[in-house]
């Protein structure tokens, strides 16, 4: 149950982040480089951050289970 909440919460968080970005209007044509560089940097940051969040979540949940 805890695992479901934890994984579900993480998925929800990432999805909301990207839905928010997707709502920006798209323009016309394909470019080979710029967009892909930007995406890489953002994804890399989010993934690295999500590792930190995962650790943080564990600590929060651990804190609650200890108290409870």
């Amino acid at each position: 149950m805890k695992k479901i909440i934890k994984n579900g919460g993480y998925t929800l968080y990432i999805s909301i982040l990207f839905w928010a970005i997707l709502i920006c209007p798209a323009y016309a044509y394909l470019d080979p480089g710029t967009g892909s560089y930007i995406v890489q940097i953002i994804i890399g940051t989010v993934l690295a951050a999500s590792v930190t969040i995962k650790l943080y979540w564990k600590k929060i949940i651990h804190l609650f289970t200890k108290k409870g």
Binding site: T11, F18, I21, Q40, I43
Partner: protein, 457 residues
Amino acid sequence: MITKEIIKGSFRDPSGFLYKENGVLYRQINNAYKDQYLKLIDSGLYDYLVNENLMVAHIETNLIASSEAYKVIQPEFIDYISYPYEWSFSQLKDAALITLKIQKIALDYGMILKDASAYNIQFKNGKPIFIDTLSFEIYKKELPWVAYRQFCQHFLAPLALISYRDARLNNILKDFVDGIPLDLASLILPLKTKINPSLLMHIHFHSKQQSKYSDNPVDTSKMKIPKNNLIALIGNLENTINKLHWRPKRTEWGDYYNATNYSDEAFNDKKALVEKFLSKTKTKFLWDLGANTGVFSRIASNRGIKTIAFDIDPIAVEKNYLICKNNKETNILPLILDLTNPSPAIGWGNEERDSIKQRSRPDTIFALALIHHLAISNNVPLASTARFFADLSKNLIIEFVPKSDSQVQKLLATRKDIFDNYNEETFENEFAVYFRIVEKERIKCTDRSLYLLERLD
């Protein structure tokens, strides 16, 4: 007479090019690439990749092909060239995974892949192997990965399309030489892929950002991605690809061998006849056309004959490949091919990727349980089929399936029988224009006959 012929598909990368001289394949390394090549060798990356069977080996030569030459190398020869639009789901998945594995290893050695094209992979001894020795460049600290987009278009997009929609979408790769455009993949993929965080990021979000910046070029020279973030990105791509599975609904051919009309006795007799006829030929390289899951292909491959097992059905090819992997077979390569529309030559000048006919041809072809599909289902005249096979191969082991056979009755059940000339006599006459009949035997308990034909030269 020395004959040097530059391989026409090898022009995009200024680091060097492939050429053939006196029938041998060479790769020239240009001066511009010298430092990268030295790093590849001196760092130990080359040795590691070759020892692990991840990349083709090469020999350094003293040859020079042009004034820009730093060095010419002779790469290991690949028996049969195939392209990603001919691969089944798992073949493409394995090609993707080996690319990412090599990328991770390269980073450990201070290098990085400057391209991530599916055409950098070929199959050798049944397994994917990296063939582009000049694809490595020295890793510059925090520089974004220039090949990320290409990886998504060549590997992730087609795999996701097969997994979430239909295997036939892999054919789109024939029309787009640089992989499936992400906006197109994004359009076709179902809504549930937008709930999958990884596909959302690498395909949908990626596609939107591509479009957004297409008209607004931004200075990318100062963009940075810390190495750990890049490694996290590559790790995520790897997990995403690993988690993609293909569980197809039943196709026409999925359960072929369970549904045919062969009794055990007939089936065994056919196998014995095929084996007998094959042993009368000197065959080093064989094509099994309409191979399904490779039951008959293995008669050849198990005898040490290099065998390509072609079939139109992606499920059959997939099953065949999985058997190959499971048994660690090295002599058989399953590939998807529609005989009525075989892979054409594509790319710039229609010369970058060869058509089926331009690639290595076999000594012997198996055309078992096939002719009626060409003649009846596809209206291909027997004369035309005979000419097609004669053009490709000296030896032909072919099964004639007459109208009385229940499989042909099935094909005729829903259409007008306009095939007055589809019978054994006409078959023999048409094929006699190109071949002589070396052997002919009736398959026990059937109306079918097996022929061993040899081209009249």
